[in-house]
């Protein structure tokens, strides 16, 4: 408990300090010291907001999340090409449908990641999430992206791998 709190305080403080230096861009003693004092106050008041609860193996999860991001960026590019194709095609090959599925993911952050990933990847947008049952309601623009989500479940597995909820 105590160790987790120390971690939260340290992380919040360094994030705040980094943002202060980045956004101010002034490096004289007065601005740096006043900035650090502000960071200390903010950290003291709100260190439990950024890092919530205690969680195992934070470092490994962060590393895996960093490895997940490039894949996700590539998926975004694919999504845009997919939408561009559907928009510009004269016959507009769309067949929208609403699908529902359940995931074994239970963590708050992992569900948010999955929901946002679904929205960013080709042809699907999350409509509703029921956190307790892990139920996702998704709008798909045609049959293939819906099947990719329902049958392959590649993204679910990736998110589960990142947050170690396999």
């Amino acid at each position: 408990m105590k160790e987790g709190r120390l971690f939260a305080i340290t992380l919040t403080f360094f994030t705040m300090a980094l943002f202060w230096i980045l956004l101010s861009g002034i490096f004289d003693a007065f601005h740096l010291i006043s900035g650090l004092i502000c960071c200390l106050i903010v950290t003291f008041l709100s260190h439990d907001l950024l890092v919530k609860g205690k969680s195992e193996k934070r470092l490994l999860k962060t590393l895996r999340l960093i490895r997940y991001i490039p894949w996700e960026l590539w998926q975004i590019v694919l999504a845009n090409i997919d939408v561009a194709y559907r928009v510009l095609h004269p016959k507009m090959p769309i067949d929208p449908r609403v699908i529902e599925f359940e995931t074994p993911l239970r963590g708050e952050f992992s569900q948010v990641t999955l929901a946002n990933s679904i929205t960013l990847t080709p042809g699907t947008i999350t409509i509703r999430v029921e956190p307790e049952q892990g139920k996702f309601l998704v709008h798909a623009i045609s049959k293939e992206p819906a099947d990719a989500l329902l049958i392959d479940q590649g993204m679910q597995k990736r998110v589960a791998h990142v947050f170690m909820e396999e």
Partner: protein, 109 residues
């Protein structure tokens, strides 16, 4: 320096293309949900590519202010988090209002 011009122009052009396609999709697609597919996705990548182009240009032509590219990176990051969230919020609101998703074969609005 010619290379930087080419890369910047390509990124800005691609960004403009995707934003443009998003707007066409907004006009062409049949209902609320499919229109959100067009805008929600294309705006994310379109804005991201345009900012990336500006970032590269600034980084090489104005190296005396390196904080500006760093701020632009954060801008991209926040757009990539905020945009799908906003799209999802709009979707959910529409769904709760009881707007029926359009199915293939129905009359277009």
């Amino acid at each position: 320096m010619v290379l930087i011009h080419i890369v910047t122009t390509f990124l800005l052009g691609a960004g403009l293309f995707f934003t443009f396609v998003g707007s066409i999709g907004l006009l062409r697609f049949p209902d609320f949900y499919t229109r959100l597919h067009a805008t929600g996705k294309c705006d994310t990548l379109g804005a991201g590519l345009i900012i990336l182009g500006l970032l590269i240009y600034h980084f090489f032509y104005y190296p005396e202010t390196p904080l500006v590219p760093a701020k632009l990176i954060f801008l991209i990051l926040f757009i990539f988090i905020a945009n799908p969230t906003a799209t999802h919020a709009l979707m959910k609101a529409a769904y709760q209002m009881g707007i029926k998703p359009w199915r293939l074969g129905e009359e277009r609005e």
